[in-house]
Amino acid sequence: MVGFVAGLLDATVRAATVLMLAGLGEVISERAGVLNLGVEGMMLVGALSGFITTVVTGSYWLGFGVGILLGMALALIHAFLCISLKSNQVISGVMLTLLGTGITTFLGQQWVSESIEGFPQIAVPVLVDLPVLGDALFRSTATDYLAIALVPVVWYFLFRTNLGLETISVGEDPEMADTMGVDVFKMRYLAVIVGGGFAGAAGAHLSLAFSQLWVPGMTAGRGWIAVALVIFAQWRPERILVGAYLFGLLDALQLRSQSLELTLGAGAPLASLLNPVLEFVFHPTIMATYPYLATIAVLAYAVIRTRSDQLAVPSALLEAYVRSAVVPVMDYGNPHETVHRVLRSQ
C-alpha cells in the first residue's frame, strides 16, 4: 500500500507540472482579457518541436527552448486574430487546437519510434529521504522544479509590478486603461504570447521529461483541463499550484485505479448494491470528468458566495477592444435635484 501511495504521489507531481505550466500561462493571457482555447494545440506543437530538436541536437534544454518558442509563435497567430482583427476568441482558440493537433499528427509520424535522453531526475539531498513525500517531490526533473518556481514569479509579476497592473487593467477595462496611457494592444499581445510560451513549455515538458517519447495527441485533453484549472483557481496563480496538484491527483488516480481492487468483496454487506456504484465512480472514463466537475462546483460556489464585483473573472474577458468605440451609455439626469432644492428652500 505504501508503494502504491508513493507511486500515486509521484505520478501526481509529474501530472501536476504539465497543468501548472499551462495553467500559469493561461492565467496571464486571461488576466489580459484574452481567452486562449488553443492551449492544447500549443502544447502539442511544443511537445513535438521540442522532441524533434532533442533527437536532432541531443540537447533537451535546446528542445525545451524551441518548444517554448513555437508555443509563442502559435500564440502570436491567436493574438493577431483576436486583438488586431478582433475575431472571436473562442473560435480562434478552438481552431488553433485543431490546427496544432492536425499538424503534429501529420509531421510527427516518423518521430513516433524515436527515443531520446530527456530531462534526468535530480534529487535534492537530504529532503529526498523524507518518507513517502521525499521521492515524489524531491526527485524530479528540472522542469518540475521550474514550474513550482514560476508560481511565485507569476504572482509577483501580476500583483507587484507595473506591467502586471497594466496586464490586469487591460483585462478588466481596456477603455479605462487606454485613457490612463496604457498601450492596450501591446499589453494584450505580450500576455497572449507569454501565455503561449508557457503552453509550449508544458508540452515540451510532456515529451522531454514526463514520457520522454512522442505520441500523436499525447496531451490527451490536458490543455482543456488547464483552461478549467484557471477557472478553478479563480484566476490566481497561487491557487493554480493547489489546483494543479488536485487535478494531477485525479489524473494519476485515473491511470492507476484499474490496478486497484476498489470494489467490495462478494461477502461484504451491501456489496451487490454498492459495487455498481463504485465501479461507476472509479471507472477511468468517468474519473476523467472529475476536473471539470470540480471546476463547475467552484464556479457555482463563487457565484453563490461572492458579489459579482468580487468575482475573479476578468471583466473584459472575450471582449475585443476597439479604440474610441462609441459605447451607448445610459445618461441619467440628477435624480435628487428636486429633493435637494426642496430641502434648500426650507
Partner: protein
C-alpha cells in the same frame, strides 16, 4: 479671476457620417472658473469635450491652453497638457485599490528604485540612476507607498474622505467619483471636465461635490461642468455656454439669466413648464395591491408591506429618494419581481405569482427605469423592439409565421406618432443606436399603443432632454384621459406634482405620506422623502394613509 481666457477652443468642427456634431464652435474658459456646458442630448457637448480630452480629433479649428496651441492625439496628450476628465460612467477598475487605479500607467518603480533617491538608501545611487536599472524597475516593480501618501495628502487637502488602500468596489458612488477627481488632480491638471457628475449622486453627495468643486475653483483650477440640468447651472456655475444642434447659442454669466431663458436657448423655443391637466372622471380600480413585500437583489427586504390602489383615469405619483423600494415596487406590479408576501389584482383578476407574460396579456404596460438594459433589446432593430410585446397577439400573422410587412408598418406608425427621431429605416436602425430621449419615446410608444389598463412608468423622463420630457409627460396625461390607470414613479418632485392626481411618498419600502398635489406641502413631502419628519411625522402620515385607505 482674469479676463484673459485660460482655455480657448476656436472654430471647432467635427463631423460624423451624416451629422455635424460641432459646427464652428468657439468656447473659452477662464482660470478659476466653473463653466457650465449646457445642451440637450445630442447637442454636441460630449463631442466638444471629447475633442478637448483627445478622444476625438477635430476636423477643423484650434485649441489653445494658457496661450499654447495643443495637438491632442490621445487622452495622454491631454493629461500631459493639464486637462483631466471625469467621465459619466466611471473609468475605474472595481477589483483594484484606489491607489492602483490612480497610479495606473504612471510606472512608478518600487521605493528602493525611486529615481529621486529612495528614503531607505539600500541601493547605491549609481545603480539606482542607471537607465537600464530604471527601465527594468519601472516595468518589473511597483511603488505604491509614495503615491499613496501623496493621494492621501491630496484627499485631505480637498476634504475628500477616501481610503487609498480600499478596493474601489467597496466604495460608494460618491467616493468613487472623488477617486475620479483625484485621478486628475494626481496628474496636476489645471482644467477638469466633469460629464454630468451629479447623475449618480445622492443629495448629500451632490452637496459635497459642489463644495469641493468650489474649493478647487478657488485654488485656481478651471472646471467645465457638462449638464442638461438648469438647476445645477444656477447652483454652481459662474458662466454658462449653451449648445444646440452642434452650434453655440451663446455664453452668458449665470447671474444674468433665468432658467426659462436658458431652457429657451437650449431647445430653441419656449418650453412649457406647466402642463394642462383636463379633469377626468376617476373610474373603478384597475390595480389592487395588498401587503406587498419583496426583496432586492441582495436578499434584503426592500418593500415592507405596501398597499396600492389605482383607478381608471388616475395618475398615482410615487415620490421618494432613489433606493427606497421604488424599483422593487414597479417590478412587482409589472409582474417582474417575485413577492415574498401580498397579492396583486388587476382588473379583478388575481395575478399574484403569475408570469410576466400573464401581466402583459392582462394589459399591464411597463416603462422600466433602465431603458437600455430592461426597456429594449439594444442590438435588435427598432421594428423588433416596437413589436416585441404584441407580435403574438394575432395581429401579425396566424401564430406560425409573422407578417413582416405588418410589423414594419406598425413600427413605422409608432415612430411617426411618437416623433422618434434618428430612424431612417425601422429594420435597419438598432434600438441601442437611438439617443436616450428617442429610445424612451419608442419604449413609451410600444407600451402605450397597446392600450393598457395599467401603465407603470418608472423614471420615464430621467436623463432625457427637455423636449422629450415635455412629450413624455403629455403622453402620460393623454393616457389618463383615455382611462388608463397610471403609476408614475419619479424622483423629480415637480414632475410628480404636475402630473399626479394623488401622491404617495415612499421611504424605506413603505408609504409614509399621502397627499394630493393641490393641498401638498412641498416642504413636508421633501422631508418625508428623506425620512426627516421623525417618528411623529411617520405615525401621522401612516394614520393619514390608513384614513385615506378606508375612505376608498
Amino acid at each position: 479671476m482674469t479676463e484673459e481666457p485660460f482655455l480657448r477652443m476656436e472654430d471647432i468642427v467635427k463631423e460624423f457620417p451624416g451629422v455635424v456634431a460641432n459646427d464652428h464652435v468657439d468656447f473659452s474658459v477662464r482660470r478659476g472658473e466653473i463653466h457650465g456646458l449646457l445642451g440637450e442630448n445630442g447637442a454636441g457637448k460630449s463631442t466638444l469635450m471629447k475633442i478637448l480630452y483627445g478622444l476625438y480629433s477635430q476636423d477643423g479649428g484650434d485649441i489653445y491652453l494658457d496661450g499654447e496651441r495643443l495637438e491632442l492625439a490621445s487622452p495622454q496628450n491631454a493629461i500631459d497638457a493639464g486637462v483631466g476628465m471625469v467621465h459619466q460612467h466611471f473609468m475605474l477598475i472595481p477589483k483594484l485599490t484606489v491607489a492602483e487605479n490612480i497610479v495606473l500607467g504612471d510606472r512608478e518603480p518600487a521605493a528602493a528604485f525611486a529615481s529621486d533617491g529612495g528614503s531607505d538608501g539600500r541601493l547605491p545611487d549609481s545603480l539606482r540612476t542607471n537607465p537600464v536599472v530604471q527601465a527594468l524597475a519601472q516595468r518589473f516593480s511597483l511603488g505604491l507607498e509614495a503615491p499613496e501618501s501623496r493621494i492621501h495628502d491630496l484627499a485631505g487637502q480637498y476634504g475628500f474622505d477616501v481610503d487609498v488602500g480600499a478596493k474601489v468596489w467597496q466604495l460608494d458612488v460618491g467616493q468613487q467619483q472623488r477617486v475620479e477627481i483625484l485621478k486628475a488632480l494626481y496628474r496636476d491638471v489645471d482644467l477638469i471636465i466633469l460629464d454630468e457628475p451629479t447623475a449618480v449622486l445622492t443629495p448629500t453627495e451632490a452637496e459635497q461635490l459642489f463644495e469641493s468643486l468650489q474649493q478647487l475653483a478657488d485654488e485656481g483650477l478651471s472646471i467645465i461642468f457638462i449638464t442638461h440640468k438648469l438647476q445645477e447651472v444656477e447652483a454652481i456655475t459662474d458662466r454658462v455656454t449653451v449648445l444646440r444642434e452642434g452650434k453655440k447659442v451663446g455664453t452668458v454669466p449665470t447671474a444674468d439669466i433665468t432658467q426659462a431663458d436658458l431652457a429657451e436657448m437650449m431647445v430653441g423655443r419656449e418650453v412649457l413648464f406647466s402642463l394642462e391637466k383636463d379633469p377626468v372622471e376617476i373610474g373603478d380600480p384597475v390595480l389592487r395591491a395588498r401587503g406587498l413585500r419583496a426583496e432586492n437583489e441582495r436578499g434584503i427586504e426592500a418593500l415592507s408591506g405596501v398597499d396600492l390602489t389605482v383607478r381608471e383615469g388616475e395618475i398615482v405619483g410615487i415620490a421618494g429618494v432613489s433606493g427606497n423600494g421604488q424599483t422593487e415596487l414597479a417590478e412587482a406590479i409589472a409582474g417582474l419581481r417575485d413577492l415574498t408576501a401580498g397579492e396583486i389584482v388587476v382588473e379583478g383578476i388575481d395575478l399574484t405569482g403569475a408570469s410576466p407574460r400573464a401581466f402583459v396579456d392582462n394589459d399591464v404596460s411597463f416603462v422600466p427605469e433602465d431603458r437600455l438594459r430592461y426597456g429594449c433589446a439594444a442590438d435588435l432593430s427598432v421594428m423588433h423592439n416596437a413589436t416585441m410585446k404584441d407580435f403574438r397577439n394575432g395581429q401579425f400573422g396566424d401564430g406560425q409565421f409573422l407578417d413582416y410587412p405588418g410589423l414594419r408598418e406598425y413600427a413605422e406608425t409608432l415612430v411617426e406618432e411618437f416623433d422618434v427621431r434618428g430612424v431612417h429605416d425601422v429594420t435597419d436602425v438598432e434600438a441601442g443606436e437611438l439617443s436616450g430621449g428617442n429610445l424612451q419615446k419608442l419604449i413609451l410608444a410600444r407600451e402605450i399603443h397597446r392600450e393598457p389598463d395599467l401603465l407603470v412608468a418608472n423614471q420615464p423622463t430621467r436623463g432625457v432632454d427637455v423636449g422629450a420630457i415635455e412629450f413624455i409627460r403629455e403622453s402620460l396625461l393623454a393616457q389618463r384621459t383615455e382611462g388608463t390607470g397610471v403609476v408614475l414613479i419619479s424622483e423629480d418632485l415637480d414632475e410628480i406634482m404636475d402630473l399626479s392626481d394623488r401622491v404617495l411618498v415612499i421611504y424605506e419600502g413603505e408609504f409614509v405620506h399621502e397627499t394630493v398635489p393641490e393641498e401638498a406641502d412641498r416642504g413636508r413631502v421633501g422631508l418625508e422623502m428623506t425620512g426627516g419628519s421623525g417618528e411623529d411625522g411617520v405615525e401621522a402620515s401612516a394614520e393619514a394613509a390608513a384614513g385615506a385607505g378606508e375612505a376608498r
